[in-house]
Amino acid sequence: MRNFEPVFLPEPRNLFEKAGRLVRGYTMAVGDALLITAEAFRFGHRLPRRRAELMRQMFACSVKTLFICSVVALCMGMILARQAGVILQDYNQEHRVGSLVIVSLVRELGPVMTALILAASIGSAYAAEVGTMNISEEVSALKVMSINPVDYLITPRLYALLIMCPALTMFADLIGTFGGMLVAKTQLGVSPRTFYENAVLDLKLRDVYIGLLKSVVFAIIIITVAAYQGFTTSDGAVGVGRATRRSVVISFLFIMVIGFFVTSLFY
């Protein structure tokens, strides 16, 4: 990992120079962030040595976000069923609500919702942790001990997210579907059997794969943004707060934008 040393440049002379410098800065940031992630992937072969840390991170990603994920997914499924049900009832098509709920969840809402929760809870925590370590010279200490901070800190977190983000997405899909089924039964009068048959009818295995692919892409976005923000943290506690906030905001932005492009690519 390269050293992120402070760069001092003279004041820009005009608007063009200012704009050019801004573009250059963002381009370099994206490049650096991607290099960190590429390096984290490269150290994957050392994961067996970092089993304990991998398990610790997987636990943090899964068990600690399970409750919030369940509540959000359940509500999302219920809202979807309720909103769609009202419209479908106008056309006497309320029995189709199962298909609408499950396809929406598996294709789009499940992966996006899970990724947003992970970006807010886990990505921000990663940025704050690494940022604090950077400020308190722990990252420097690792480098001096000939330990690559990307290998030691980021690789276990990357692989933990790569495993747990799709797993949580599937869990959210299931809970959301259950929520939809609950509303369909109690408020639309659609039996769970009808809900299930319609859901299975329209859901294709391809949808599941694409949903999971999205969650893998989102996991990479979360760790890329969080790691870069963490390693470039400066200015003490204020800097850690800034890195945490940026990590969440930028992750949200990329999850939505890249989510759209992945959807456009397959549908």
Binding site: F8, S140, K143, S146, I147
Partner: protein, 250 residues
């Protein structure tokens, strides 16, 4: 052993190190003193590759560290042990795990790592706190734990960044005594960066003073005290009233 040749490093318009040159001899304790912001820590961080100099060379046993790529540099860092100002211990590991970390990462087997860790902790008189987390021990103990981690790999050069900063005078003298004791027992080369002249006179074989990016005085404690530089004399008088330090009149 370690040589700075015309090392220059600036931050924007501010030149922190301006063609600084000095040599640290094998087995000696070389102390760099100076007021805050004069480039002491910058010199130390440049030695281990945490900062890249604008120009000049840093030679370790004749090998130019500044010309090496990051991978070679990382290998060369095995020659160094560093005690950071804050201790820089990993918060989620116990003291023993922190000290054992560089050994385990280098592939030393667990039994040997445990033995060497306890030996290092005994040297800094911290073996009783091996199972505590950094947040459960005092600042002085954290520095000692950081020191144990710095020596556990048996480096040839130990770098100390402000080893007594933030400590009370009693603990500061205790750390000084520990640095001296380790120096005698291990026979390593030490570079200490500090603004604490009590510490510098107590542990240093030679003392250099940095001011405005230049070395303005360099010599044994006696020679340092005899320097005719007003800045050096002002720096000494700011920390000592008239009297004797190690038998030297100030």
């Amino acid at each position: 052993m370690l040589e700075f040749r015309n090392l220059t490093r600036s931050f924007g318009d501010r030149v922190v190190l301006d063609r600084v040159s000095f040599t640290v001899n094998q087995g000696e304790t070389f102390v760099i003193v100076g007021p805050s912001g004069t480039g002491k820590s910058v010199s130390l961080r440049s030695m281990v590759g945490l900062l890249t100099p604008d120009s000049g060379q840093i030679l370790l046993k004749g090998q130019d560290l500044t010309a090496m790529d990051p991978q070679q540099r990382s290998i060369m860092n095995a020659h160094f042990g560093v005690l950071f100002q804050s201790g820089a211990l990993l918060a989620w590991l116990t003291i023993a795990q922190n000290v054992a970390l560089p050994l385990l990462e280098r592939g030393v087997d667990e039994d040997e790592a445990e033995e060497r860790t306890m030996e290092a902790l005994r040297m800094v008189k911290l073996d009783h706190a091996f199972d505590r987390k950094p947040s459960e021990i005092s600042g002085g103990m954290q520095k000692r734990a950081g020191l144990a981690r710095a020596i556990v790999t048996r480096p040839e050069v130990i770098l100390y960044d402000e080893p007594t900063s933030g400590l009370d005078p009693v603990m500061s003298r205790h750390i000084d005594a520990l640095i001296k004791e380790l120096q005698q027992r291990l026979g390593v080369t030490s570079v200490v960066v500090t603004h604490d002249l009590h510490s510098a006179f107590s542990i240093g074989d030679r003392i250099a003073m940095l001011s405005d990016g230049h070395i303005i005085a360099l010599g044994t404690p006696e020679e340092f005290c005899a320097s005719d530089s007003d800045i050096v004399q002002g720096f000494i008088k700011a920390q000592f009233s008239a009297g004797y330090i190690r038998g030297i009149k100030v």
